[in-house]
Amino acid sequence: MARKRGNFGLVLVAALVALPFLPLILWTFAGEWRFPDLLPAEWSLRGVRYLLDPGSGVLLATLTSLLIGASVALASVAVGVPAGMALGGYEWRFKGVVIFFILLPILVPPLASTMGIHLTFIRLGLTDTVFGVFLVHLVPTVPYTAIIMTSIFVERTGELEEVARTLGASPWRTFVHVTLPQIAPGVAVAGLFAFLISWGQYILTLLIGGGNIVTLPMLLFSAASGNDPVITSALALAFAIPAILALIIALRYLKPGEADDGRGLLGLGKVS
């Protein structure tokens, strides 16, 4: 009885979650779809062709998004791993203050700080460059990689490292051969997260890229402000692909229940 009600609830919630994707999928493949028809009268691949047409700039924008996202993921993992080691692996004074400081950009919008730093970026010649965009994307991503790695290091005792050190391994060798293989899944999750956050950025890219650095959300935003639902929907679906892939990967490799151990309270929160 309770089981049945649970299934009904699941179907209802799943339907509500799926609802916004319904028009996106229908419009992407719609040829002619007049009001008030519930389904398109004709189907077409115009939306898909637009995505793949080199003239539309979608492929280039996707490449730019991928390039920025991958570099941001690498850099923010490289910054987040040592921070997580310090925050999760050791006890020290003023740790609470440092955690507050590092987590602040999750709740205080980076838009405010980016507008503030814009003039300095202009002076340094960082505006309108991929590198400048990469730099400001680190602001929303580093807090997440740091906090995810902190939760990984909290659960480690460091006994294996101690053994390795006793056997004469250098700190660096110990890190590469003992610590790194152990924290690899956490590093992957942190990197994936950083990538998704960077991938979803619109306003930071617009402010610093000044419209010269065109990423996928730029194209989606201008399409959404126009009135061609076919193009808008096709772009929106393309923009959603990495998130869906990431979800499939996460669900394949995470054991059931692992995703909701309360770490999600801050960790698995806002992505875009």
Partner: protein, 283 residues
């Protein structure tokens, strides 16, 4: 001593990134909000921008709208999240995780576009209403986009943030709450009694913490209101951006003053959240 140096070195990269790019940016915003912009010949420090912002009707309208949108989205998302978590707590963990994770992972822009295509006057909702004979033409369908009540923005936020709160609630429901509830049932408590006196007190700290995050996030977020909101009043981050883009460079201090207000409010929420999270961790 060596330990302290090691910790400092480990933290250095993160502190440099956040310190320079984030805190440095906020500091620059603060300086500019005080009217100090030597690059465009404004070298006098004053509080004019704050005076203009805090006494201006535009700002108050925006502030009111921002609090309304964040408050309405957070309340609706919280209530729905508790209901959804209660309904789903006995179903398969993997499926529930998939259903809840999807909106969390999907970018806000995708959600906004999809929801606009459902609730616009020519959207799926209106098409369904015509098919069912409820309305005759698009203009009979209620205006839910770019509207007075910011329905489109709120619906998008509710769709995005409900699962986030629900996952937090689900985690605590599957923990202690489930055992306590069984005890209460054995003792003869009815279902409402069990929820109100047993389950709710256990899950409420998590609910408060998650709602704080959602309120703070929706208070400072830009994309969804920029896309689905009307042109006046706008929520504060959009107002700051519009002032910032103003051709008249003397509007810059005003934009920065708004940014400082947003930063102060959201930082207060961050502090409240961390205090709560720390107490939760202890308890």
């Amino acid at each position: 001593m060596g330990g302290r140096v090691k910790i400092a070195l480990l933290l250095a990269p993160a502190l440099v990134v956040i310190g320079v790019l984030f805190a440095g940016g906020l500091l620059a915003a603060l300086v500019q909000s005080l009217g100090y912009l030597p690059a465009i010949g404004m070298a006098e420090v004053n509080l004019d921008a704050y005076r203009e912002v805090l006494t201006g009707e535009d700002f108050l309208d925006s502030l009111f709208l921002t609090v309304y949108v964040a408050g309405a989205s957070t309340s609706a998302a919280t209530v729905l999240a508790v209901l959804a978590a209660m309904a789903l707590r006995r179903s398969s963990g993997r499926l529930a995780a998939l259903v809840f994770q999807l909106p969390i992972t999907i970018p806000h822009l995708v959600a906004a576009v999809g929801i606009a295509l459902v609730i616009s006057q020519t959207g799926l909702g209106a098409r369904l209403a015509v098919t069912l004979g409820l309305i005759g033409e698009p203009k009979d369908f209620p205006v839910l986009l770019y509207d007075r009540y910011s329905i489109g923005i709120i619906v998008t936020y509710v769709w995005k943030e409900t699962p986030f709160i629900a996952l937090v609630v689900l985690a605590s429901l599957r923990g202690v709450a489930a055992d306590l509830e069984d005890v209460a049932r054995t003792l003869g408590a009815g279902s409402w009694q069990r929820f109100w006196y047993v389950v709710f007190p256990v899950i409420s700290p998590g609910i408060v913490a998650a709602s704080l995050i959602v309120f703070s996030f929706t208070f400072g977020a830009f994309e969804v209101p920029y896309l689905l909101g009307k042109t006046y009043p706008t929520i504060l981050p959009v107002m700051a951006y519009n002032e910032y883009r103003d051709i008249d460079l003397s509007a810059r201090p005003v934009a920065m003053a708004i940014n400082i207000v947003i930063a102060a409010v959201t930082a207060a929420f961050a502090a409240a959240y961390l205090r709560l999270a720390r107490d939760l961790g202890r308890g």
